[in-house]
Subunit: 320 residues, 4 copies
């Protein structure tokens, strides 16, 4: 099941579950994988930046990839983040991922790239490295990566690499960029690309209306993402916004650079998905005050979306 | 009326009004100044980054400063952004500002600063340049300025400069920073500082609960900021969150780096505050699609806060 | 005398002379201006980064510009650095400069520019701001400005602005860039541009051979620059290298980011050009050990270039 | 043979030899290893930035490390660069290196570090990751890594980690930093550290006089480095400078960011050390014009240092 440019829906960004002592937690990996499928996700992305991919060594990376892909890779497509400091390591992980059944890989540009030509050239070399048969996702995340790709640069990258089938869009601001890319398609100067959006979902409501195909982000309630994507795709605009707005205070709270992963893992633990919210070093964690704030937010969201009630209850118990 | 560390409430960040052809619009300056006073703002900050300060020449800077300070400077304190590439220009503007009646000035660090010592040293030299009698606000905005100040560095700056009486806090994430700074005060290692928060108000609800004294930001509905600050200060937590959440979708939409100023000026024009939403080059503007999105958001917010109804109606008419 | 694309030779980058207490030293300004003319410079560039331009306020900037241009502007062309945070200030200084008789202005890109299009657009707006009748120099200095311009981007800028007549080339590495730009000219895709090189002269020997028209930098012995440029232009390759290599240990020593200006001003003081080597804050200075190192270097260079003997003697006396 | 703070002399930075097709060239690895020993190097550093370490996958990294350490690790200490995006990979490589007989490892800070505390904390965590029994070298290279460490930060790092025994000093400017660090030692606030300097050797002459213990850099004539270090250590100042200055034009030419590695590998190929000067992508290469410039420089240096004559002859033949 290879990734294609027709992909739609919600690809959750999965964290990597650890035990409190930092060992990889395989039981939680299994439970989490099932959870995303059951939440209506149409795909899963592992070993991205929020998956603490850089903190694993080569053997661990292989273990996590194999375990998740083998468990759910025949149910929904699994995309593996293969960004690496060099092309040899990128190639090794990409080939391994495809061998065990991944649907594609995701590549982010290194922050050393400056000019348009450097960016285009980098992805041409990356494609050559991983092999032209591996479908891949272009990650566009200037806030974190400090690489700014204009719509024209994205078009050049896509034009040079038939295997680039998807854009993980998380430029900020990014709404006009979606509109521009879709106009390239409609004017016939760029082939169709699946566009899934990130940034924790902070602009998902309008991103869908601008032409996104769905979300690729890790908000701890993927059900919200799948619902907003579906409602929006069905043209139920007001309903999509109503539901989105109900979660927005928490989405916003989770979308704090660095600190956000601690919130996300904390909520997934409250939900029973992860056994521990531990991160490997360098780690962030939710302070006692932050946990109270999360509990308060969960309680408020639960008043509008009853699927949040369990987590709200668990949070209330935990901070009591 | 000099700025002191006891300042509270909402200091609006004022844009600079231009005519469509780029000339400064003095009539809008007057109307806008009155508007902020009438909206309940307890202070006004002019010539900040969102005030396009860098786009004015020396004569224009003087004109804007004098006009605003003379109009409302005896009613509410006016803070003037004096960040400059060099200390001579900073001093000139600071002295001028105080001479015409400003309450204080605001200084942001240049993005060339790297180490803790460089940051501390810079502000010591800045204080020396403007004169020790000028109260000043420390702007902490890593996302835009690329200078990261730890709480300890802020404490060192404050310790070295008695005239530093306020922190414009817009680190992101920033909640723990407020808590840390207040703990410095309670443990007696840092004197009291007024902390007003920025970032478009995106975290104002919790920032108040962490110990902020108010907001210093430019959201196009300052009434919302003043209300949230007041409700929170009065301990009406749920009411503060209810009101805040009603505006959050729009606050979030306005808080887009670069693009946000176009949204803000557009809404202020809809509100009748500005005659034009023009920016000087390099400029951003709200696209026709964006204006429809803003109209949609205003309409939704107006359903919960009737003070938004006029703007919502104007927006609906404009995109029809 | 307007700057044109046929400019050749050495345009010295002038420091700004201050008294020890930080006031502008007008007597040294006059002496320094004459010194550069007498040293064989074919032009002079003032208020560049090494001229501490940012540390002057508007009145001082005007004073320095007028004084230098009026003294020597009819003898050799004077270029005024007008880089500013905004276009209004840039325009004011550019018009003033041309009014008092400058030959052209120099513009560096702000470090916020990221993409090719942003860079090209910035210079189009800058040209519009200063007026199409003002000849200007494009400063390409990625190490200090963090803006990387490919040869193609430079071609686009030049193509869009007929008044761009010169490139201050200080990319590092930069030799291939000169070759590429000259190939654009010979293939007819870019009109002729005067290329003067910076970086303290560290690669001047080979830059000339690659096609540069001369130097635009501030090495404290401009005679060396003018000689190397002349010898190279005359095809006396070995002689050019011999002379260059004799000075290289000192050129290298002066070419230390930040610290270099202290070396330069110290040597110019030893030469009797400046009355003081003071910088305005934030300032660097040559430590006692550094001054001994400079004395040692001057002594060694003087053994090969007797024009250095006076400075070497003065240095020896000063550290004794 | 574990690395200690008494290390002196020249630790060459080794490139990684590839065949023209990008495969690792084991024959050249052996020859190169012997070459460095025969050139008088007192140590060897492999898999640094100029060793294209990031371009190897895990298996290749192991191969290169084992092969070099086993060949010469009992003759001179071998230091292995273990900088990694995460601590797990860093630990794996550090343990492997020590297991096969390396003398220590080298760690550079990631460019994401901003504040003093972040830097200190990072190295504390790195030390914990690799194990307190592994001697390590702190790499201080702001130009390439964009992390600025003050002398005080280095002192804090050294104080927190007894296994930090050496500083690879390549700040620029960096002379005052060496003086400051040595003053910390003499005043008793920091224990003794071996300081070896980088930057291609561009300031080696004065760095030795400031208190450096030697060089750690990759100039293609390590004999020059070992001689300058020895002469300087023996107090033969003028002789050290005479020899250094003879090579300076070429040292300067090799010290071009990015392009320098192509020069270095090209010269090492001319010397018969490497069979190919190929780099893995993203690669730089010496253009035909650059090769002529190198030939010219070699010819000039050979007139003063006859050990360069062979390479000069080979270069002349190659460009004929």
């Amino acid at each position: 099941m290879n990734l294609t440019a027709t992909a739609r829906g919600t690809f959750a960004i999965a964290p990597t579950p650890f035990h409190d002592d930092g060992r990889i937690d395989e039981t939680s990996i299994d439970r989490m994988s099932d959870f995303y499928v059951e939440s209506g996700c149409t795909g899963l992305t592992i070993l991205g930046m929020m998956g603490e991919a850089q903190k694993l060594d080569a053997d661990e990376t292989r273990l996590v990839t194999e375990r998740i892909v083998r468990r759910i890779g025949s149910t929904i497509p699994v995309v593996v983040g293969v960004s690496s400091p060099g092309f040899a390591a990128m190639r090794s992980l990409a080939r391994l991922s495809m061998d065990v059944g991944a649907a594609g890989v995701m590549i982010a540009p290194p922050s050393t790239l400056k000019t348009d030509d450097q960016i285009v050239s980098y992805f041409a070399q990356a494609t050559e490295a991983i092999g032209s048969d591996v479908p891949w996702v272009l990650q566009d995340f200037p806030l974190a990566l400090n690489v700014v790709m204009t719509p024209d640069v994205i078009r050049r990258i896509v034009g040079a690499s038939p295997a680039c089938v998807m854009l993980k869009h998380e430029d900020w601001p990014g709404l006009e960029k979606i509109t521009k890319l879709r106009s390239f398609e409609s004017e016939g100067t760029m082939r169709r690309l699946s566009i899934l959006t990130g940034n924790g979902g902070l602009f998902l409501d309008f991103e869908m209306e601008r032409g996104a195909d769905g979300a690729m982000t890790g908000y701890a309630f993927p059900e919200l993402l799948t619902d907003v994507v579906t409602l929006s795709a069905e043209g139920k605009k007001d309903e999509a916004h109503d539901l989105f707005d109900a979660h927005l205070p928490l989405i916003r709270y989770e979308q704090q650079p660095g600190a956000g992963l601690a919130v996300r893992k904390h909520v997934l633990k409250l939900r029973g998905v992860l056994a521990s919210d531990a991160q490997r070093k360098p780690a962030t964690s939710a302070s006692p005050i932050a946990r109270k704030e999360i509990a308060y937010l969960l309680d408020r969201v639960a008043q509008k979306d009853k699927r949040v009630a369990q987590a709200a209850g668990a949070a209330k118990g935990a901070v009591a």
